[in-house]
């Protein structure tokens, strides 16, 4: 007899004994209570010893969580750095995207979402880009409007290390809410003016940027990005302590695993058409590899389909404004628009209101004579701003013409989204009805990851202008590999089932290699439940 058997027997005997005790008088009840108290006292002593031993065993078995968050953060930073490099050295895009002007302008266009300090930082970054390319920009370049000029006079003063009261920027903004729009217009004028110089600079630094990061070409850069992503994925993968802690915390249901743990490869029956011999290592590894690829493809499928509206939107733009127009005509339209904007800018500059620039006293603008002209000028500037948006669309049309005409795969559309974030973010904003820059950036990053995905397969398979049954094609391909994919696999509920079963299969394989036995894990899970209820009771 071991201790458990003894305790079980003793508890039964004590229960019978108590049942037999008469309780028909006060004194007998008192005697009953005294007997119970004695048993309780004795059993509390036993429990205390057992608890002490259980706590000792629990502490001994409790897994030490290895905190990998700083390593993951380090990988994320590296990935971000290499993502920027992917954009900066992309031969398909112009200096506008390479140098990040597109996104800086996009961010400044959302000035109302940023703090004043952030807006100044964005402007500073643009000025640095010009400086890096050897172009000197001064406050005079912002003399399209008295407010933009005064704003920049103060900002340049601040950048030079002088003390500037932040209130001056607020004051200017309150007097002219369109001041950031006016600053953007001036930057756009500078970008057109120095187009060639900036383009030459952006191209010249490609190799330098790669070399500085220990890379000899772009292929190496993409490989490096993929390997960093895989390294990050490995770091994020749950290890023994993570999984056991998930069981303890209830994030993973232990009972689901406990009942089938001896059948490590049980979930293979869910994934495969024909059973395999799991004792044959190469057959087993092949099946696991096929399932892993299928799982990664499913994740790609989900992101691809969640962006269907975006893809359709771009294809619609293409069909409506690009498909039937010659490329020459698109370029001609673009150049005409540039001339049109130049004329409007000249008109805005000629207004008398600009004569007060020398005073740098923005209060003067509100003298009655200048006030009307000021409003007139702002109206023209707002029109110019709209025309720049049209110019961007014309530029995007040329991009679409160049890229979709040569290839008709979904990957090209996603590629356009990735290569031209300024346009894609505007489209993302409209299609998904997003408000904040963070939300838009999150969606953009998802698309970037879809394109630069080490497991990428489906977006290269799906045709843009085809009515083929894509799922049928996938089904046929997977069934060649013994994967049980059928007409219903891609239904939402079944997609979730695949994810659940995949997680279970992977976890069970991991558990089979754990240093903890399944009994030890069960002990930790059950004891922690009691500890939790004791905590709640106290």
């Amino acid at each position: 007899m071991n201790f458990k058997e003894y305790i079980d027997k003793d508890i039964e005997e004590k229960k019978i004994l108590l049942d037999l005790l008469p309780m028909n008088t006060e004194s007998r009840v008192r005697k009953y209570k005294e007997t119970v108290d004695e048993i309780v006292k004795n059993y509390k002593g036993i429990l205390s010893s057992v608890r002490e031993y259980v706590n000792y065993k629990y502490a001994k078995l409790y897994p030490n969580k290895i905190d990998r968050s700083s390593q993951i953060k380090q990988k994320e930073d590296e990935i971000d750095r290499f993502k920027s490099l992917v954009m900066m050295t992309n031969p398909k895009v112009s200096f506008y995207e390479k140098m990040g002007f597109d996104m800086l302008i996009f961010d400044l266009e959302h000035y109302y979402n940023n703090s004043l300090t952030n807006n100044n930082e964005i402007i500073k970054k643009m000025l640095i880009c010009f400086k890096d390319a050897g172009i000197n920009v001064s406050a005079k370049d912002f003399r399209i409007n008295v407010f933009s000029y005064n704003y920049m006079v103060n900002l340049f003063y601040l950048i030079s290390g002088n003390d500037v009261d932040i209130e001056i920027f607020k004051k200017i903004f309150w007097k002219c809410p369109g001041v950031y729009i006016n600053i953007i217009i001036c930057f756009r004028m500078l970008l057109l003016k120095y187009e060639r110089k900036l383009d030459k600079y952006a191209k010249s630094r490609d190799n330098l940027l790669l070399k500085d990061n220990g890379l000899s070409n772009r292929e190496e850069l993409i490989k490096k990005l993929y390997s960093l992503k895989l390294e990050k994925k490995q770091l994020e993968e749950k290890d023994e302590s993570d999984i056991i802690l998930d069981f303890i915390n209830g994030d993973l249901d232990f009972s689901v695993y406990n009942n089938s743990i001896n059948n490590t490869y049980g979930e293979l029956d869910y994934f495969l058409i024909n059973s395999i011999d799991t004792n044959n290592e190469s057959v087993l590894n092949h099946a696991l590899n096929v399932i892993e690829n299928f799982y990664n493809n499913l994740l790609e499928y989900q992101v691809m389909y969640s962006n269907n509206d975006l893809i359709d939107n771009i294809v619609n733009i293409y069909n409506k404004s690009v498909a039937s127009v010659e490329k020459k005509q698109l370029v001609k339209d673009y150049n005409l628009q540039v001339k049109n904007i130049s004329k409007m800018e000249a008109k805005a500059k000629k207004l008398k209101v600009n004569k007060i620039f020398s005073s740098e006293n923005i209060d003067k603008v509100f003298a009655p004579a200048e006030f009307n002209q000021c409003i007139e000028q702002q109206n023209i500037l707002n029109e110019i701003y709209k025309e720049y948006a049209n110019l961007d669309n014309q530029y995007f049309n040329i991009v679409l013409k160049n890229m979709i005409e040569t290839n008709s795969f979904v990957s090209v559309v996603i590629g356009i989204v990735v290569f031209y974030p300024f346009f894609s973010k505007s489209i993302i904003k409209n299609v998904f009805e997003l408000e904040t820059v963070d939300e838009i950036n999150e969606k953009y990053d998802q698309l970037f990851d879809l394109y630069y995905n080490p497991y990428r397969k489906l977006i290269d398979m799906k045709l843009l202008f085809s009515k083929e049954n894509f799922e049928q094609r996938l089904m046929d391909s997977y069934r060649f590999d013994n994967l049980n994919v059928n007409e219903t696999t891609y239904e939402e509920d079944n997609q979730n089932l695949i994810i659940i079963n995949h997680e279970k299969l992977i976890n069970k394989i991991k558990i089979s290699k754990f240093s903890h036995t399944i009994d030890e894990i069960e002990f930790l899970v059950e004891v922690s439940k009691i500890k939790d209820s004791e905590k709640e009771a106290s």
């Binding site: 003894y6 508890i11 028909n24 009840v29 059993y43 036993i46 031993y53 002990f523 009691i530």
Partner: protein, 60 residues
């Protein structure tokens, strides 16, 4: 055997498996709760014979 003549046992907790150890822990915990509850709810329970005896007492 102790001085009262009762059988005594010596057990080693380390002889128990994890499952058994946890079961013992749980059984003890539940049994103690059961005992405390029984004690708190204990009250005089009179059966039919007791009632008759009391009636006889009153008549005499």
């Amino acid at each position: 055997m102790n001085e009262k003549g009762e059988m005594t046992y010596t057990f080693e907790l380390k002889d128990l498996s994890y499952k058994e150890l946890f079961d013992v822990y749980k059984s003890l915990d539940e049994f103690i709760s059961f005992l405390i509850k029984s004690r708190d709810n204990a009250e005089v329970v009179k059966d039919e014979e007791d009632d008759k005896k009391e009636e006889n007492k009153e008549e005499s």
